[in-house]
């Protein structure tokens, strides 16, 4: 065996080293130094994140089972930024009384799920992809059950693990049909052998695969777990689930749909995805309006955001891929800012409903300000990054030139206006409404402040500095995986 192939996967090996360091620290350091573990893990991961920006060489490893190119490299770096912010914001929470016994496990499981997502992104064989998907979803179930003193956490974990296994069984059935149809599980070989195939088996297989990955993305017919799990899980785990897990699944979904089943685009899955996007955006928005719990509210908001992300997939070209990655990057900053504020307030007061936020601006002006920026960015109000990401994803969807997709973009635009209503409800509660039992002035830990500052910088600057989008579009324009 040629061991130099491992040089093709520097980011995976670096992540494993980070994991090993954290694991050794957790196991062998004396208990008096354990309080420093969260900070240690964050600093080591931060160094890894910065080193990850070094360019990697393009190519395949392990008999074309693993691919490394500029797009996977960029996507992994985007995820790294998000994970770094999550780790930074979780330091104070991990050292709190009820969690501190198991704080090492939190960081180890987070790093392991990230490793699974790397495999999902880079795998070019369905075996690697499935292993990555399971590595990314099973530890998340245990993370959802992390707050053992709360009943909701257990309920969330039970619902998550049972539905996750169900959906992965459905997806495996679809993959077995693909295997029966083509006799191979390599992405490239499947792509070449389904050209011109119109059989019923392929349609069924595609429907199953879409529902399996759609579960991870919480697209609408498969979204019912989302709100419960987001509400019950600890806020740090929720933020991780909503951005990192969803972002990696979106990228992997794009690769599977376009690279593997690209030949079936126009006559099979374009219309499946079309219908899914329409109901995802609409149902997510309409259910978000009636939520009072902010974590549930952000769950439905993230469902409708997943619908917007899928607009990049339905474009199925280089512009769509670039705008999808840009959307994920912006979505990471906006959503982590919102969850960061919720985490700060929940950790100190335990309040998570919209009514609790009445008059927050009077007592905590900075938290209210960051929350306002996050809501504006999620809703897509111009100077902030969310506007640009929505703009580019609409441009990407329109670049197909298909009239039906124009109609889809129009539906998405109307839904953006609906979403402004409920995003602004939160802003209204914080700035305009008054309440006698308002949240007292809180003092957040410096790590939480640092995380929120990074998010705020991201929200304000990423849209205005154009090099982010142009570099992403340069990367995707160089790929040759697109059909037609």
């Amino acid at each position: 065996m040629d061991y130099s192939q491992f040089l093709m996967m520097p980011q995976e090996i670096g992540l494993l080293l980070v994991f090993l360091l954290v694991f050794l620290y957790d196991t062998f350091m004396p208990s008096s130094t354990q309080k420093g573990l969260p900070l240690f893990a964050t600093v080591v991961f931060g160094i890894f994140m910065i080193l990850g920006f070094m360019p990697v060489s393009d190519g395949f490893a392990f008999g074309e089972m693993f691919e490394s190119n500029k797009a996977t490299w960029a996507m992994k770096n985007i995820l790294n930024i998000g994970v770094f912010i999550v780790l930074l914001q979780s330091i104070k929470w991990a050292n709190s009384d009820f969690v501190s016994v198991r704080r090492g496990e939190f960081y180890e499981l987070i790093l392991l799920t990230l490793f699974g997502m790397y495999l999902m992104i880079s795998g070019r064989h369905f075996l690697i992809f499935v292993i990555g998907l399971e590595t990314a979803s099973l530890p998340l179930a245990t993370l959802a059950a992390f707050e053992k003193r709360y009943y909701e956490s257990h309920e969330a974990a039970a619902k998550y693990v049972l539905t996750a296994v169900f959906s992965s069984a459905i997806m495996l059935l679809g993959l077995s049909f693909v295997y029966g149809l083509t006799g191979t599980l390599y992405f490239s070989e499947i792509a070449s052998s389904i050209v011109g195939d119109n059989s019923l088996l392929l349609i069924v297989a595609l429907a199953f695969v879409i529902s399996g990955v759609g579960y991870k993305l919480s697209l609408v017919p498969f979204h019912l777990w989302t709100a419960d799990v987001y509400q019950g899980a600890p806020t740090m785990v929720t933020s991780y689930l909503s951005v990192i897990s969803k972002g990696s699944a979106a990228f992997a979904f794009f690769v599977i749909m376009v690279q593997v089943f690209g030949a079936a685009y126009s006559h099979i899955w374009e219309w499946m995805l079309y219908a899914i996007i329409v109901i995802t955006i609409t149902v997510g928005n309409l259910f978000a309006i009636r939520q009072r719990n902010l974590k549930r509210f952000l769950a439905f908001s993230s469902i409708s955001q997943a619908g917007y992300i899928m607009l990049g997939v339905i474009a199925a070209n280089a512009v769509g891929m670039a705008s999808m990655m840009y959307y994920i990057l912006v979505y990471i900053f906006s959503n982590l800012a919102a969850f960061g504020v919720i985490a700060v307030i929940e950790r100190q007061t335990g309040k998570v409903t919209t009514d609790d936020y009445n008059g927050l601006f009077k007592t905590n002006p900075w938290l209210a300000f960051v929350m306002m920026l996050a809501m504006f960015s999620l809703g897509g109000i111009p100077p902030f990054a969310g506007f640009f990401s929505k703009f580019f994803i609409f441009v990407g969807a329109c670049s197909t030139g298909n009239v039906a997709v124009y109609a889809l973009v129009l539906i998405a635009l109307i839904n953006t206006i609906i979403s402004l209503y409920y995003y602004l409800l939160v802003v209204k509660a914080m700035f305009i409404r008054q309440d006698e039992c308002v949240i007292p002035t809180l003092k957040s830990h410096w790590t939480e402040k640092a995380g929120l500052i990074i998010c705020t910088m991201g929200i304000v600057l990423i849209g205005l500095i154009s090099c982010f989008y142009t570099s992403l579009s340069d990367i995707t324009a160089a790929l040759n995986i697109f059909p037609g």
Binding site: E134, Y151, H154, A157, L162, S168, A169, L172, L173, G183
Partner: protein, 97 residues
């Protein structure tokens, strides 16, 4: 021909997943679904593509993944049992809509 038993197994699994009220029974139904997929892979490999062994290897990995899933699910169910003293899914419906 050999696909019929595996599809019947899969259907039984889906039916059990939807109708059962006991979480352990739901987990058994899930195992049934995963194992039927394994049979599917082996059958396709043996009868359609006997030259390579992609399906066999996939099955081996799928069995390992299914074992891991069972372990995690059992652990979570035990945790739920400690809190509510029950494994009936009708008892864990506090969060809705």
């Amino acid at each position: 021909m050999y696909l019929i038993p595996s599809l019947i197994m899969f259907g039984c699994g889906v039916y059990g997943f939807i109708t059962r009220k006991n979480m352990i029974a739901i987990l058994i139904s899930l195992e049934l679904m995963l194992n039927s997929v394994d049979i599917n892979f082996v059958v396709f490999n043996r009868y359609l593509y006997p030259a390579q062994h992609d399906g066999m290897f996939f099955t081996l990995f799928a069995i390992a993944i299914a074992a891991a899933e069972t372990a995690v699910a059992i652990a979570i169910i035990i945790n739920v049992y400690r809190v509510v003293k029950n494994v009936d899914i009708n008892q864990i419906t506090k969060m809705k809509f």
